[in-house]
């Protein structure tokens, strides 16, 4: 929670809106509108918990953007990322957009040192005329320095279906200052978030003109930030409700 508050503060100071979204999502918002149609291999990247019951009454459709009935699939699921909220927001409001969405997300992962089936994420989205990769990099520079102090930031090419180009963002390892140690697997860098320029297909899905506007999006795991920031080496500690652990992080 402390990390969530810090990140929210950082973005609030930069003029971002903060929105939450539904944890129960449908296939359209979680995948299809994000350029992942049925049978897209990238769906394998996120093992999904499907619910198999329809959402009652289309509540969220009414509040956060109109979705044609035909597109609300019977396939309901626990959202695998807060990116689903991008779609709801852009369907409701015209550009420009400056938004972060904190919240819980769910994946069918086994518990281990770095995975839990439920974790918390920040989704970020910026859309407007002339938004470029430089804006993306500048934003991360500012945010990550605020969070971690004096760190270096680098981008590595990657792939997400909803962004093109996509980049993983690394910060220089604080344990060793970049010379290589156990924490950073001797690379000197730590992966901190995934990001990229919004894919034109996503803009088309929400009715934005990809010739008019561009944007960047990112996803940041809150536990990941907390682990790196406070030197926690096991993600499961956050969910074991041990007061001796939790009391070390007062709000």
């Amino acid at each position: 929670m402390r990390v969530r508050q810090q990140v929210e503060d950082i973005f609030a100071h930069m003029g971002y809106e903060i929105l939450e979204g539904p944890e129960v999502e449908d296939d359209y918002h979680n995948f299809e509108a994000l350029n992942m149609p049925a049978d897209h291999p990238a769906r394998d990247m996120q093992d999904t918990l499907y619910l198999g019951v329809p959402i009652m009454g289309g509540t969220w459709g009414a509040h956060c953007g109109h979705v044609p009935e035909a597109q609300v699939r019977a396939a309901t699921l626990l959202r695998t990322h807060t990116s689903a909220m991008q779609i709801r927001y852009m369907k409701t409001f015209p550009p420009p957009v400056r938004l972060i969405v904190p919240g819980r997300v769910y994946r069918r992962d086994n518990l281990d040192l770095s995975h839990t089936p439920m974790f918390q994420q920040f989704e970020g989205l910026v859309v407007g005329r002339g938004i470029s990769l430089a804006d993306l990099k500048g934003t991360f520079d500012a945010m990550l320095r605020e969070l971690f102090g004096d760190v270096r930031v680098r981008l590595r090419p990657s792939f997400f279906p909803y962004t093109e180009p996509s980049a993983e963002v690394d910060i220089s390892c604080q344990s060793c200052g970049g010379s290589g140690c156990g924490t950073c697997k001797h690379t000197g860098w730590l992966e901190i978030l995934g990001s990229g320029m919004v894919h034109p297909a996503v803009f088309e899905a929400v009715g934005y003109d990809p010739e008019e506007v561009t944007g960047f999006a990112f996803g940041l795991g809150m536990e990941r930030v907390a682990m790196l920031k406070y030197g926690v080496d096991d993600i499961r500690l956050f969910y074991e409700n041990d007061l001796r652990f939790l009391e070390q992080f007062p709000l």
Binding site: P41, A42, M45, F159, P161, E168, T187
Partner: protein, 285 residues
């Protein structure tokens, strides 16, 4: 994908160490999960390949990227089949494709074999990449998969009814006993490889137990084909049979897949049998 450094060097003469290659490639979109030593002067680099690059799920695919990164030429694996005794003359196998929309190309090759363990260098390479050696014939198919990303399958020719191959969708109510011993019910949207009588393999997913290569096999029919990745994916999901081949069969890896090179690269002395289907336009073969 686990890449053995010495295997990679069959394709690119790159002087860099495993650590240097890992560092270079991780900045070019291939994150490195781990580097493990494999013997005194070899290493296995485990690259994380993103979902848009199935063409890099092989030694050859990664080698192409490494060659580009270091500006060195890419060379093919040294395999011309020289010195291998020719396969005895025999009637060919008749291959026909009924569902050409789901299978644009199917290539078969016959080879006389004596089934036994593979040579130790091949077993070592397979083991380094996390694949259990089985017999020489099965190992060759796995070796080609790891090297070129082309899934292959080996049938025992004597156990194919009518000695022919038909690529078709499953008949209503058809079943197949797969190599894992399970009897599986097939539905008409699934692509199968059939002999004159019954399905002998689920295309790109799993082979059938009845036509499996065993110790008694004398002649094997090696399959190298292009199946619709979507169909393979749907079928393997439906059957709950996630297998190595199904995740590699993707259209953009067609550069290596189904190239006429892949069969000779399997190294035994092979005789071409019928080739059916034409490569789609734009594919380099």
């Amino acid at each position: 994908v686990k890449i053995l450094l010495s295997w990679l060097r069959d394709f690119v003469q790159v002087p860099a160490s495993a650590e240097e290659i890992a560092r270079t490639m991780s900045l070019r979109g291939f994150s490195v999960e781990s580097i493990e030593a494999a013997g005194p002067d070899d290493a296995v680099i485990d690259f994380e390949v993103t979902a848009n690059r199935p063409d890099c799920m092989s030694v050859a695919g990664i080698a192409l990227e490494v060659a580009t990164a270091y500006g060195v030429p890419l060379q093919g694996p040294a395999a011309d089949g020289a010195g291998v005794p020719p396969t005895s003359p025999q009637t060919g196998v008749d291959i026909s494709i009924e569902s050409s929309d789901l299978c644009p190309r199917y290539v078969g090759a016959l080879a006389d074999v004596s089934v036994g363990p593979s040579p130790s260098w091949m077993r070592q390479r397979l083991q380094a990449c996390g694949v259990r050696p089985i017999t020489n014939v099965v190992d060759v198919t796995n070796y080609v998969l790891l090297e070129l990303g082309q899934p292959m399958h080996a049938f025992d020719l004597a156990r194919l009814g009518g000695g022919s191959i038909l690529v078709r969708t499953a008949r209503p109510g058809e079943t197949i006993k797969t190599i894992d011993g399970q009897l599986r019910a097939l539905s008409p949207d699934m692509l199968v490889i059939a002999d004159a009588e019954r399905a002998v393999a689920i295309a790109g997913v799993m082979g059938g137990a009845d036509s499996e290569v065993g110790e008694a096999t004398q002649t094997t029919l090696l399959e190298s084909a292009c199946f619709s990745p979507l169909s393979v994916r749907r079928t393997s999901r439906k059957l709950g049979a996630e297998r190595i081949p199904s995740c590699r069969c993707a259209p953009c890896s067609a550069h290596w897949h189904c190239s006429s090179k892949s069969v000779p690269d399997a190294r035994p002395g092979l005789r071409w049998t019928t080739i059916r289907g034409e490569p789609s336009p734009g594919w380099s073969v």
